[in-house]
Amino acid sequence: MSRDPAAAITNDIVPALVPWSGFVRKGQTLRIVDTKGQQAVDTLFYCAGNFAERYDAQATLAAQGAAYIGKGTPILSNEGRLMLTVTEDTVGQHDTSAGACSCEANTVRFGHQTRFMHACRENFLVELARHGMTKRDLVSNINFFMNVPILPSGELAIVDGISKPGDYVELRAEMDVLCVISNCPQVNNPCNGFNPTPIQILIWDGA
């Protein structure tokens, strides 16, 4: 279903490299647009009334019996409750097993010379702090538009993204949630096509 951006109650351009957060109320629809293609959008959800209840990547995958987020995936909390449903997806599959990049993990993956490069967990900690949260609240996130096949051998790697300019996902909130995003700054792997770009966030009232 095509929605009218002019009717959106939120229509934000999030520049490359920076975080974003906002509340999505029950019944509202959140759209995340990969404006230039191949841009990982690291995303976390928290229950608006109780941030200790939050997105649970492992419970979400166990419940659907499949390794990637896509159209129809029920997004579950660590209490097993339905937080959101993926209602549209023009890409096909999104990672939720590889987590967010950090300065510390970068040193291990790519060498100690990468310690002082910007990373998603720097974005997340700043944005979570605005809502009274800390590193304890950082759990495995969804990586929209990030392509991480898990092979039958167990081999797992971030490979070139498959999203094109303008591709998007839509999620309908099934409860009031706080959405926290890091528009991924990583250039050490292909998750952003080695060139981070802006994204667009839209929220609509009602179905």
Partner: protein, 268 residues
């Protein structure tokens, strides 16, 4: 560096990881004893079906988890004993090592780019790093409601509570003895017939850690009825890791993770 330089380096690292994986293990073999003798034993416990158990390990000590009756999954969370905000990070552990298949020679990593524990022995070879442990809601979908039935998520909340921590400190976990394979379409499959009574895994602490084990069946465990069996845990005094230890030198990522870990340990 240009985008092309970054791309070239990334795919060089990926190729090297694939080569190393094909010739693991490298480095000196760790020879753990088949039976932990009483003089090496620091403590032991039989964890009943459905229950949890928490242990503190100093750097260099090991935990042997014995699947005495081939139960279908034992989930684990690990925190740094010195700073519990540093804890097991499921995403980094699989991403940094380029594999979700964690077995002998692989590492369990914290969110701070350091090694919590090494897998120094593995007589099972099948542990799940993607799907986590059981939850009340998941078990209810699978077996029907039962307010008495225990699950890993609530076990972890209980264990965290007894450490003065809370639900915010319970994140993604790893489940030992859980043979899950992802097929070519991305569907998860439980591999039947690989769990054997008496299989064990040894974890060597590479910093001072707190480990909680939850003995509840994995979300994908087969069978229509909830059925866990007791498991045995032994804390033991393991030989100190040497500089050519398998877990330290198996990959260049491991070398760097230990550089980060040792830097803190030496200061402490």
């Amino acid at each position: 560096m240009t985008p092309d330089d970054y791309r070239a380096r990334y795919f060089a690292l990926k190729r090297e990881a694939e080569e190393v994986a094909s010739r693991l293990p490298v480095g000196r073999q760790v020879q753990n004893p088949e039976i932990i003798s009483p003089d090496l034993t620091l403590g032991e416990e039989t964890i009943p079906a459905g229950w949890y158990w928490t242990a503190r390990l100093m750097r260099g000590q090991s935990l042997r988890l014995i699947n005495t009756e081939a139960t279908a999954g034992v989930s684990a969370l690990i925190w740094s004993a010195q700073d519990t905000s540093e804890r097991y990070n499921a995403g980094d552990t699989v991403k940094v090592q380029w594999t979700a298949r964690l077995t002998r020679g692989r590492l369990l990593l914290s969110d701070m780019g350091r090694v919590l524990a090494s897998i120094t022995e593995d007589r099972c070879g099948w542990h799940d790093s993607i799907l986590g442990g059981s939850t009340r809601a998941g078990d209810a979908r699978k077996f029907g409601e039962d307010p008495q039935r225990r699950n890993s998520h609530e076990n972890f909340v209980l264990a965290a509570g007894k450490l003065g921590l809370g639900p915010r400190d319970v994140g993604p976990c790893i489940t030992f003895f859980a043979p899950v394979v992802t097929d070519a379409e991305g569907r998860f499959e439980w591999k039947d017939g690989v769990l054997k009574p008496g299989d064990y895994v040894d974890l060597r602490a590479e910093m001072d850690i707190i480990v909680t084990l939850s003995n509840c069946p994995h979300p994908l465990s087969p069978g229509r009825r909830w059925a866990a069996k007791p498991v045995r845990a032994i804390l033991w005094r393991s030989p100190e890791a040497e500089c050519d230890d398998l877990c330290r030198v198996a990959t260049q990522e491991a070398v760097r993770a230990f550089e980060n870990t040792d830097a803190v340990a030496v200061r402490a």
